[in-house]
């Protein structure tokens, strides 16, 4: 086992990893940008290293600086969290070269997961259905236009190296494609350091179901059940739950087996997620592999009792996976609401600023993963996710009731947040029945127009 780990991230996921380290008796090193001097993860970690200026490309995406910090602090491993360098094969290779363990999949896994088109081809060859897309990256607007015409609108422009819903633009027609294409590339570069994008057919109003995967270095692979991530806005997940209220035990078995099949086909190692779209007729399509710990991992942790971050660390240090989904006692229901610093009344525009008033929820069945504190100033440079509120109970109805109560307790002011929106959703009868698709959120938000 490692004696010291560098956490190459910020915000709530940095806390999550630092806490896991502490419980395992491993020392932690936090890195931070000049804009994050007052961030709480510095206080939780054992050591702190400033990594560069505020802009992410010069700090949290600064590979050389991070490897250098790892060397100087003498860590045995780096945990990348999610986003930033988490799925960057070059970074994982650089770690390897420096003799530092990258806590995550192999560089080849990352390369393949990042190369969504090749991943789709391999998965398709194994008999798992996939969504139609351009055969390779699309380098120009003209090429995008030609492919979209052939495929038929609506289409999506997606970042090849993307994830977390960033760098995705849906285009209804040619005019939209012409305007959105360069912005999708810009977002791709800013978020992932790679501006390659591709075109994918847009499947109207599906459900989004994913399976958590764990794999060790000794060819053992298991899934840890499904997560329903259908409630999204602009491909940003808002609410996730486990289990899915829609899939039957039989379908869960088929999809879970397909997920394990996918992981084995690509020789996957460590924690990952296999994402599927499920259409109205119960057909599922492989979408992509997320080669990282995901934002929504807590709903799996609460229903399986397995600490996924500790498992990532254990597996990265050579530990063996000696259990499977059939052997674990999955129990109860967990729901996660992503609390973002966004204004639902202003088309979800970000709402940066100082947290003057902060009152976190608590009590039975409540887990709160956040980096907020009273007096904290939210930097403009980073993601608007400020908290993950997770409720757990034996039944879905019970988990919804706990979530509603916890949301009512939660105060963050004067910045705007998605808390009021989540409250409305908890009160919605379709949500309560588990009857929704990816278009669900449109009922709660006015017509989207980002052109103002």
């Amino acid at each position: 086992m490692f004696s010291k780990i560098l956490v190459a991230n910020r915000g709530e996921i940095a806390h999550r990893i630092i806490r896991a380290c502490r419980e395992l008796g491993i020392r932690s090193v936090a890195i931070y940008s000049e804009a994050d001097r007052d961030s709480l993860h510095l206080a939780l970690a054992d050591e702190q290293v400033c990594i560069g200026p505020p802009v992410s490309t010069k700090s949290y995406l600064n590979m050389e600086g991070i490897i250098d910090a790892a060397r100087r602090t003498g860590v045995g491993a780096i945990h990348p969290g999610y986003g930033y360098l988490a799925e960057n094969a070059a970074f994982a290779r650089a770690c390897e070269k420096a003799g530092i363990v990258f806590i995550g999949p192999t560089p080849d896994n990352l390369h393949l997961a990042g190369d969504k088109l090749t991943a789709k081809r391999i998965v398709q060859e194994k008999g798992v259905p996939v969504i139609p897309s351009s055969p390779s990256g699309v380098g120009s607007v003209a090429e995008a236009e030609r492919i979209a015409e052939e495929m038929g609108y609506p289409v999506m422009v997606k970042a090849s190296g993307g994830g977390g819903g960033r760098g995705i633009r849906m285009c209804q027609d040619r005019d939209m494609l012409l305007e959105e294409f360069p912005i999708a590339r810009m977002e791709a570069r800013a978020g992932f350091g790679n501006d390659e994008v591709y075109i994918e057919k847009y499947i109207v109003h599906p459900r989004h179901i994913e399976f958590q995967i764990l794999a060790d270095r000794h060819s053992h692979v298991t899934h840890l059940g499904d997560r329903e991530c259908t409630i999204q806005r602009r491909y940003q997940k808002l609410i996730e739950e486990s289990p899915s209220p829609t899939i039957t035990t039989d379908l869960r078995k088929v999809m879970g087996d397909a997920a394990v099949h996918v992981a084995k086909a690509v020789n996957y190692v460590n924690a990952g997620t296999v994402e599927f779209l499920l259409d109205g007729d119960g057909h599922f399509y492989f979408m992509e592999i997320n080669a990282r710990i995901q934002v929504e991992h807590p709903v799996t942790e609460l229903t399986t009792g397995i600490d996924l971050v500790k498992e990532q660390i254990r597996l990265a240090s050579g530990g063996e996976l000696d259990y499977s989904f059939d052997g674990i006692q999955r129990r109860g229901w967990a729901i996660e609401c992503r609390i973002n610093a966004e204004d639902p009344d202003r088309n979800f525009l970000p709402s940066p600023g100082k947290i003057e008033s902060y009152r976190p929820p608590g009590g039975f069945g409540v887990r709160l993963d956040t980096h907020l504190y009273q007096g904290y100033e939210l930097p403009v440079f980073y993601d608007s996710l400020i908290a993950k509120l997770i409720s757990y109970d034996l039944t879905r109805d019970g988990a919804i009731r706990i979530m509603r109560r916890a949301l009512q307790e939660f105060r963050v002011a004067p910045i705007k947040t998605t808390i009021p929106l989540h409250l409305k959703i908890m009160d919605d009868s379709s949500f309560q029945r588990g009857d929704f698709d990816t278009g669900f959120i449109e009922r709660f938000v006015p017509d989207e127009d980002d052109d103002e």
């Binding site: 960033r166 590339r185 810009m186 980073y382």
Partner: protein, 88 residues
Amino acid sequence: MNEPEENAGRIEVRVPMSGVFYRSPAPDQPPYVEVGDVVKKKQVLGLLETMKVFQKIKSPSNGTIVEIVPNNETALKDNDLVFVLEKG
């Protein structure tokens, strides 16, 4: 974007919130506009990145770019002045 402030044909374009200002759609591409350019109403003049979300900064009117106040990649505060246009 905020309502422009007009003063004898001079139009100020300010940002509606804090964020990082970009003059071009990508580092390897030319800026959206330069001083002296004639622009149309709703034409994109630049981008504002706030918490990883990009907003287009659009021209509130037809006119000519007289001044571009911040440098590329500058962190701006709510209501900072970005462009000055001459109405035309």
